[in-house]
């Protein structure tokens, strides 16, 4: 997935569409991330200004949600659910399998896909009954 490189004007344009919505801080952070792939540092002050909150408050929200990021993700981003339901149907094996294959991934806690566990996402695309093979295949595209 390709993202725009940082531009203040672009960010202001994004914020002009989110600032007046209810609960604008989270929506603004998401919108900025969807354009730039992450929340660049200068965006924090712009969001604070646009939503008339403090930079500290934006920072608080930004660091609370693990889906919001302050860095660009690697080319392929894998997340594996390690919550209870998936653990019960084999996510531990999936985790150790991926590790042995040298696949980097982040742990996640529930994609709401419990009935089809173990679950994983590759670049945002959800897999049910995920396996090392299915994940590697998705990465190789």
């Amino acid at each position: 997935m390709t993202y725009a490189s940082w531009s203040k004007d672009e960010a202001l344009l994004v914020l002009s569409q989110t600032r007046d919505k209810p609960g604008p801080v989270l929506i603004s952070l998401q919108a900025i991330q969807s354009v730039f792939g992450f929340v660049p540092t200068p965006a924090v002050a712009l969001i604070a200004e646009a939503c008339n909150v403090s930079r500290a408050e934006v920072h608080g929200v930004l660091t609370f949600y693990s889906d919001l990021r302050t860095f660009l993700l690697p080319a392929n981003h894998v997340r594996v659910c390690v919550a209870e339901a998936c653990q019960a149907v084999g996510s531990r094996e999936l985790v150790s399998g991926l590790k042995s294959q040298g696949v980097e991934f982040d742990k996640a806690f529930c994609f709401g896909n419990c009935a089809l566990g173990p679950s994983a996402t590759v670049n945002g695309k959800l897999q049910g009954r995920a396996s090392v093979d299915s994940v590697v295949k998705a990465i190789q595209g």
Binding site: V44, A48, N52, V53, S54, R55, A56, E57, V58, H59, G60, T63, F64
Partner: protein, 997 residues
């Protein structure tokens, strides 16, 4: 003396008036409905363990320590978040509750240092002991390795002691309203953070609310760690701005450990700002002069000497001057930084020992128009409300004041009101912080051109009159109808419409109309204003315009409304009350009134002159004319703070005896012959009166570093001049004030010590003081409307000086900076900066951060430029905290027509890039008969500003008779070039009353 610990009731008081009765551990207690169980218990004498609750903040319910059992309900609810209800039966202790609390505390202690830096102050340790925690079984990851944040000069943040109770975050949000703190991350990683940066790089304004709220040693004053735990405390009053916050000065022996804002303080209710809370180090700074000094000539070096020699030298010189040049050739200036008692004694010395009325105060250069304007309209010179009133306002009109910088503790209260729904209208040339700051923003910002205040206030009133918003019931019942009728005709004139004035003010007419409608349709609308109103050629007119607006809309005489001057210095109100003006005795009574004079003459044993004395600028003019030769200056650095410094310096040089009473050598003392060391507020025993007329006690926490009280020194000088004057103590001075001045009749130190503070008038009718004035009737009986024609200032932008300079303050520095420059506050602001709009900068090739030359017709200086859109095009702005920048070299000696309050807020200037930084200051000296020029200008200004009624010449003659010295009146009549005087002045000069009163 012991250390005062104010009780913490856990949650704020309920505002409900209906009562409920509950049973807590068998104790029956009746409290207002919606009181929390936690608070009700504390009121019943039962302290429930708690950590995240404190009574300055809303209940949060996160620490789970204050749990209780309630009969008939399941579980163990937190008592901070559970309100009482009628007949409720609560148990605060049981084996189950003990288990819960011990479990909670065991978790806290498993990630908390065994010994805290603040020792007994750590509530975590206190609670662990209280709940009977014996051991901690948990082991695992902790936060104990995190490095301290020492970036703030005054406090440390040690995350290892933090229990993430959110008290600091909530204090910053709810009390201060800056929202500079947050909890970053979540789960185990959750920590208090100032937006991921160090405190000093964050949005923190260092008010100290978080430090005060912290129940552990995580946020701690550095002085507590270096000096150690305080052992005693003294309740006293901050000596910075006119908010007048109450503090506990916490001492360890004779050393001040910290200043802690007092919850019981009427003005601040437990809040503080960076200046009062932390910037008190100047009081014991090494630069303090503690021994008297003298010298024959200002070119000689200072020589330390005894009090006797210094006083004797000063007195003999003053006497010699009077013998040679006459009784009126000397005078003095009282200080709004000093106590009421010190000020009272100085004006007494001048009137009784000097034998003239040449006494003025630094309020001349800030709020003298408030005195004039409010006296004319309401009958007394004071703000109408208490600070608490703002919580009842629906609309706040803020004019020419920047409270987040200059009155921070009141600004926090204002922001609290706004977050609860009050709407704000800002009238200011600059985009000041409160126009838009987290969670609050102004409904309207009327960004007018400096010098057009009266045009705006007239335009607002015009809309209110034309669109039928006048509160006729209020006007008919409370106001002088003749004056109202004349005013209504005047204000409805088309020349006062927003459309007609748009080209003058630059504010779009429709914006003015919207703001006027918002103000007029509010249930409670209040007006707050500052020096942006008074420091203009029409300062007094503007104050009267504000009073008109409040009366016309019926916004006087109840909480939530009123006219409120925000006073710059701690005791501006008090120094004015104490008779510091040359035409007034204490209590705003004109010097020409024989009955008033008799009251003082009886006690003082001297005849008081019936003629008004010289105002500060008149003193300078008179000095240059050779008639004024000696001056006593109490705590004011006129050679830095007064406008057109070149003129001030020349005047001081022309004097034979300049006596300076101050903490430090300053710009003025460069021209002095005698230096009398003064005392800091930590050594004074007296009272300050704040902007809400609240008389607060100032108590000494340490012995005078000079060996004398300041008022003793004044008395010594008076005695050396041959007038017997002395008091046993400060309380005796207040007793004399109470005996002579009706508004203070009920005030005494013993009563203040008993009740904490009193708002004057405090007398037989109002023995507990008066929070809100003019409730049933105005002090003068009926409120008087005054016509307020807009007369543009003569200080206009021109081809040579096309920009308008306006001046102001910033948060961390105070006035001329004599105090704050001697504290760590310089970390935030170490030099004065010139703010300039992008377009003006581009036009002149000025870059951000570069040196620029700033020139007006009276002088020039060099400053660093900051390009910002906080000022509009055509306007530049700077502060005057640093003598090197010499902002007042630029400002002119133009002044308010009625009071001679300088026009600091408007100076026509030009700016050009400068290759070099500031060198020595260039002073330009004007030649010719400066005094006569001033007299002609002042007379013409008065003529231009008096209401255009049937006989304006009578009003002019009356004004001159009331406020000018006989000598100035003589010069107008005899020496002035009549071709330079306006026809109205010439007519007034034919009247008997110009000569006599």
């Amino acid at each position: 003396m012991s250390l005062l610990m104010e009780p913490d009731y856990g949650t704020p008081p309920s505002k409900r008036t209906d009562q409920v009765t509950v049973d807590i551990d068998g104790v029956s207690i009746t409290v207002p409905a919606e009181t929390s169980i936690l608070r009700a218990s504390k009121l019943a004498g039962i302290a429930i363990p708690k950590l995240c609750a404190t009574d300055r903040l809303k209940a949060f319910g996160s620490c789970r320590l204050c749990v209780v059992e309630i009969e008939g309900r399941n579980g163990t609810p937190s008592s901070c978040t559970t309100p009482v209800s009628e007949g409720m039966k609560v148990s605060t202790q049981s084996p189950r509750i003990d288990r819960v609390r011990q479990g909670v505390m065991e978790l806290y202690m498993s990630d908390h240092p065994k010994e805290c830096a603040v020792g007994d102050e750590c509530e975590v340790h206190e609670m662990a002991a209280r709940v009977g925690l014996k051991e901690v079984r948990y082991q695992g990851r902790t936060h104990l390795g995190i490095a301290k944040d020492e970036s703030n000069p005054y406090f440390t943040f040690d995350s290892t002691e933090c229990i993430v109770c959110n008290r600091c975050v909530r204090a910053c949000d709810e009390v201060q309203g800056t929202f500079a703190l947050t909890i970053e991350n979540r789960g185990f990683e959750a920590r208090v953070s100032s937006s991921g940066t160090s405190f000093i790089e964050s949005e923190c304004v260092s008010c100290g609310a978080c430090v005060q709220a912290c129940p552990t040693g995580a946020l701690t004053e550095k002085t507590l760690l270096t000096i150690g735990a305080p052992t005693r405390s003294v309740i006293t009053t901050c000596a910075y701005c006119g908010v007048g916050c109450s503090f506990k000065a916490e001492m360890r022996g004779d050393e001040l450990v910290r200043m802690v804002p007092l919850k019981a303080g009427g003005a601040n209710e437990g809040h503080s700002c960076v200046k009062g809370r932390f910037a008190w180090g100047y009081a014991t700074h090494g630069d303090r002069i503690t021994q008297p000094m003298v010298r024959e000539a200002i070119t000689d070096p200072w020589r330390k000497t005894t009090w006797e020699e210094a006083i004797g030298f000063a007195a003999s010189s003053l006497k010699r001057i009077q013998d040679t040049h006459g009784v009126t050739s000397i005078g003095g200036i009282t200080s709004s930084r000093c106590t009421n008692e010190e000020v009272y004694v100085v004006q007494k010395m001048i009137r009784a020992a000097f034998g003239n009325n040449n006494v003025d105060t630094c309020a001349r250069v800030c709020h003298s128009p408030t005195g004039y304007g409010l006296s004319q309209t309401f009958g007394t010179s004071a703000g109408t409300q208490d600070f608490e009133s703002v919580e009842h306002s629906d609309v706040i009109l803020l004019i020419g004041a920047n409270p987040t910088a200059a009155h921070p503790v009141f600004a926090s209260r204002m922001k609290q009101a706004m977050r609860k729904g009050a709407q704000l209208i800002v009238v200011d040339p600059r985009v000041i912080e409160i126009v838009k700051t987290p969670h609050v923003s102004a409904a309207h910002h009327l960004q007018l051109l400096p010098g057009t205040n009266v045009a705006i206030i007239n335009a607002l009133a015009h809309v209110i009159a034309e669109e039928g918003y006048i509160d006729r019931d209020f006007v008919n019942a409370r106001c002088d109808l003749e004056s109202f009728a004349a005013w209504e005709v005047f204000i409805r004139l088309p020349i006062n419409s927003p459309e007609a004035l748009e080209s003058v003010t630059r504010v779009p007419a429709e914006k003015v109309r919207e703001a006027a409608r918002l103000f007029a349709s509010a249930n409670n609308a209040a007006i707050y204003y500052g020096l942006g109103v008074t420091e203009h050629s029409q300062g007094s007119t503007m104050v009267m315009g504000i009073a008109n607006l409040a009366m016309a809309t019926g916004n006087i005489g109840r909480p939530g409304v009123g006219v409120n001057p925000l006073r710059g210095q701690n005791n501006v109100q008090g120094s004015c009350d104490m008779g510091s003006f040359p035409h007034e005795l204490p209590g705003y009574r004109h010097i020409s009134n024989p009955d008033t004079r008799e009251i003082f003459e009886k006690i003082w044993g001297r005849t008081i002159s019936a003629e008004p004395g010289l105002r500060i600028p008149n003193m300078f003019d008179s000095a240059l004319n050779g008639d004024f030769k000696g001056i006593y200056i109490q705590g004011e650095d006129i050679a830095q703070s007064d406008p057109n410094i070149s003129h001030v310096h020349a005047a001081l040089r022309a004097m034979e005896m300049v006596i300076v009473q101050d903490l430090f050598l300053n710009e003025t003392s460069k021209f002095a012959h005698v230096f009398l060391p003064g005392t800091s507020f930590l050594e004074k025993d007296g009272t300050f009166t704040n902007a809400e007329r609240r008389i607060n006690r100032v108590r000494p926490v340490m012995a005078s570093k000079t060996g004398k009280s300041e008022w003793e020194v004044t008395c010594d000088l008076a005695r050396a001049m041959g007038y017997e004057m002395g008091y046993a103590n400060g309380a005796a001075i207040m007793d004399e004030i109470a005996a002579t001045t009706p508004t203070f009749a009920g005030v005494s130190f013993s009563k203040l010590d008993e009740v904490g503070s009193l708002q004057w008038p405090c007398n037989e009718e109002q023995s507990d003081g008066t929070p809100v004035m003019h409730v049933d009737h105005f002090v003068r009986g009926l409120g008087r409307f005054m016509e307020t024609p807009f007369v543009p200032t003569d200080e206009k932008a021109s081809r040579k000086f096309p920009l308008l300079l306006t001046t102001g303050r910033i948060l961390s520095q105070y006035n001329v900076g004599a105090q704050t420059r001697r504290t760590a506050n310089v970390i935030w602001h170490s030099e004065d900066i010139l703010d300039i709009h992008e377009s003006d900068a581009q036009l002149r090739g000025i870059e951000d951060g570069s040196w620029v030359r700033l020139a007006s017709r009276v002088g020039d200086t060099i400053l660093k430029a900051r390009i910002t859109n906080e000022v509009p095009a055509g306007v530049v702005y700077t502060t005057f905290h640093f003598p090197e920048s010499g902002a007042n070299i630029i400002t002119t000696d133009y002044s308010d027509w009625a009071t001679n309050c300088p026009e600091y807020k408007v100076t026509a200037v030009e700016i050009s890039p400068s290759l070099q930084g500031p060198g020595s200051l260039h002073l330009q000296h004007s030649d010719g008969d400066v005094q006569l020029e001033s007299i002609v200008r002042m007379a013409n200004q008065i003529a231009a500003n008096v209401p255009a009624d049937a006989a304006p010449e009578i009003a002019i003659a009356h004004h001159i008779g009331q406020f000018w010295t006989p000598d100035m009146r003589r010069r107008l009549l005899e020496d002035a070039d009549r071709t330079k005087l306006s026809p109205l002045v010439l007519k007034a000069m034919e009247l008997e009353s110009t000569l006599t009163k």
